[in-house]
């Protein structure tokens, strides 16, 4: 274990993309000690995750087992993350994606989807950004989605929540300009994680989580404001955004 110590905090640590990023961070450099502060729900999955990261060579791992279902949860999580000294990188990764049919069938599911992926993710990003500004340095990465780039019939509720996150991150980037804090909005395409297991074999190819994780870690290192991952999604979404309505409405996306 080496000379550089990096402290990384993750809200929603058991999400598939967060898990990939954590592995990448822990393994990327033998001369770096990576201390972790992880927040997620599900004691069993958290225990599996932390054992895995320990074997891979993580430094200290602090765990807060807590759902992020309301603004109080998010505030408590943000307080906990920063209670034990400065943090170099914060990743906001929690979320869920029920299918559009489930959301159609039950407005409560739809409202929770909007709340969790939109309001609460935005609150988490907002609180973390302010804490990093207080510290005077650090990086924040927030998981958005290509789904936030244009509303599509198959998942506009999830997409609109992610669009909210994107707009909030743009505002936060404006707000932290010149403070030494850097914020990255991550826009993954469909990725093979537990959240998308129900989409497997459905014709939409799912990117391996390792590829997405590598892109996220590199983008945070470089301080890029926005990263599409895999990269081709930048071009694909540019086209989808540019499609005239008349054409778009004839597609089945």
């Amino acid at each position: 274990m080496g000379v550089v110590v990096t402290t990384i905090a993750v809200l929603g640590a058991t999400s598939g993309i967060a898990g990939g990023c954590l592995r990448e961070w822990v393994c990327r450099d033998e001369d770096e000690t990576v201390d972790l502060r992880l927040v997620a729900r599900g004691a069993d999955r958290l225990a599996r995750l932390t054992a895995d990261l320990e074997v891979r060579g993580a430094g200290s791992i602090a765990v807060l087992e807590q759902a992020l279902d309301g603004v109080d949860d998010v505030r408590a999580a943000a307080d906990w993350v920063f209670a034990d000294g400065p943090v170099d990188i914060v990743l906001v990764a929690f979320g869920d994606m029920p299918s559009q049919e489930e959301a159609d069938a039950d407005p409560a599911v739809a409202a929770h989807l909007l709340d969790l992926n939109g309001t609460l993710a935005t609150m988490a990003a907002h609180l973390a950004a302010l804490r990093l500004v207080e510290q005077g340095s650090g990086s924040l990465a927030v998981l958005g989605s290509v789904a936030g780039d244009r509303g599509r019939k198959s998942n506009y509720l999830y997409g609109s929540a992610k669009a909210m996150v994107a707009t909030a991150v743009a505002g936060l980037q404006h707000r932290v300009a010149g403070t030494g804090v850097r914020i990255t909005l991550v826009k993954p395409g469909p990725t093979a994680t537990p959240m998308t297991d129900h989409l497997r074999g459905g014709g939409m190819p799912l990117a391996p989580v390792e590829v997405v994780a590598r892109d996220v870690v590199a983008a945070v290192d470089a301080g890029r404001p926005v990263v599409y991952t895999p990269r081709r999604w930048q071009a694909i979404m540019a086209i989808i955004r540019a499609l005239p309505r008349a054409v778009f409405h004839r597609t089945n996306l």
């Binding site: 599996r48 054992a51 074997v55 537990p194």
Partner: protein, 432 residues
């Protein structure tokens, strides 16, 4: 979903269930017959079935003891992940097959072997215990001591005794990520076998055999022996993305002429009779992993991989097989010759003391007929064919060449595995 093995033959329609937790595995097992599957690198139909249980989502490390090298991980962890995490810290796999894109569970189920079989045996020989979900949904900790029959049935048992959830096995110490390789040019098959004998004490040895050259060059080989280097250089670049085979290659790309040209170049590029160089462990152990989807090189029809082993007393059969394959002009450029060490106690494990030869054929009737012919030759010599690569062997050949099959079936009955754990291969043999 359409599913196939690495040979892309045969292809089957299957329901694919992705399990990410032991609960999901249990509900799949209790819900009907399943075929456990890892990264799908077995070649034929051993990981195909109506309900395929994909276990690559069980991908966590669980514990590592740096004093002994004992690693416990979930069965869906790939060997590539093990290497990426442990080579920088000076640990290596005790046994590795020719690709790192297999899961640890798959390595146990196939009881895979590598270039060090003559010294270190199979992957299963380095496993100390397994966590296995049996047909009832119960999870058992299985070791040689606690459940000897079940342990020896599960190592090499093709996933037919239960779902391997976790594996504990020993890594070995290395002092470098590099391997010192010596290449010996062997102008004939006899010379190749002599080279294996001469280098019997080397940690790794494998031969690339030219199955196109005929006449007095019949069976000419490059025998490659290796040792882990000692230079303390463990850190290295992490592997970049693999090159991909573009779309579907026309099947005619690999024809007798192109293979002959490739083989001549490959053989003649080595100038001296004995040459030495230092290479990274990846090009040394996994030359084909550089090319993602190399299985597409054979075109849409897919390919058969045929690997047999015969005891040392069957040297004449090996020679005859080389002659027939060469005469048939059907072989691929990728043929591998090796001398195996002794067999182990695992009931369906493939390796046995003697010679092994592995090669690919593009799938067609002539290749299938040749394989049947080779089966007879191998059986006559007291040998057998590797189940993990098989897509076409008959049940009679299986029974005649795997003498402990009945013991295996008995263990399966004892643990209620019949009708619960199955595969297209198992059903093809008419077994329950």
């Amino acid at each position: 979903m359409r599913v196939s093995g690495w040979g892309r033959y045969p292809v089957a329609e299957a329901e694919v269930i992705a399990a990410r937790s032991y609960e999901q595995v249990r509900s799949a097992v209790l819900g009907g017959a399943v075929t456990p599957r890892g990264l799908g690198r077995s070649y034929g139909d051993s990981a195909l079935g109506d309900r395929v249980l994909e276990l690559t989502g069980l991908d966590h490390f669980i514990a590592f003891d740096a004093a002994t090298g004992s690693l416990t991980c979930e069965a869906g962890v790939s060997l590539a992940e093990v290497l990426a995490a442990f080579v920088p810290r000076g640990w290596f796999l005790p046994v590795t097959p020719g690709t790192k894109y297999v899961t640890v569970g798959g390595a146990v189920a196939s009881d895979v072997h590598g270039k060090n079989h003559h010294k270190d045996g199979t992957f299963g020989d380095h496993v100390t215990s397994l966590r296995l979900m049996v047909a009832s949904g119960e999870v058992l900790d299985v070791s040689r001591e606690s459940h000897p029959e079940l342990f020896h049935a599960t190592c090499g048992g093709m996933g037919l005794t239960g779902v391997i959830l976790e594996v504990t096995f020993r890594l070995k110490r290395v002092r470098s990520r590099f391997v010192d390789e010596t290449v010996i040019k062997a102008p004939t098959l006899d010379a190749a076998i002599e080279a294996f004998d001469e280098h019997g004490s080397a940690t790794y040895s494998v031969g690339w055999i030219d199955l196109v050259a005929s006449g007095r060059r019949l069976g000419r080989s490059l025998v490659m022996v290796g040792e882990h280097a000692d230079d303390g250089n463990l850190a290295g670049r992490r592997g970049g993305p693999m090159a991909a085979v573009p779309l579907e290659m026309p099947g005619a790309l690999l024809n007798p002429l192109s293979v002959k040209a490739f083989n001549t170049l490959y053989y003649e590029r080595i100038r001296g009779t004995v040459t030495q160089h230092r290479v990274g462990y990846e090009p040394y152990f996994y030359p084909l992993d550089k090319l993602a989807d190399w299985n597409k090189l054979y075109g849409r029809a897919g390919f058969l991989q045929y690997q047999f082993a015969v005891p040392f007393s069957g040297r004449a059969a090996l020679q005859e097989a080389v002659r027939r394959i060469t005469e048939a002009r059907l072989a691929s450029p990728l043929a591998v010759l090796k001398v195996f060490g002794p067999a182990n106690d695992n009931l369906l494990s493939f390796p046995m003391a003697g010679y092994t030869l592995a090669l690919d054929f593009k799938v067609d009737d002539r290749a299938l007929r040749l394989c049947d012919e080779l089966d007879r030759l191998v059986l006559g010599a007291g040998g057998r064919v590797y189940l993990t690569k098989d897509a076409r062997m008959s049940a009679a050949t299986l029974r005649a060449s795997y003498p402990r099959l009945e013991e295996f079936e008995k263990v399966r009955r004892e643990y209620g595995a019949e009708g619960v754990f199955t595969s297209a291969q198992w059903k093809r043999w008419g077994l329950s």
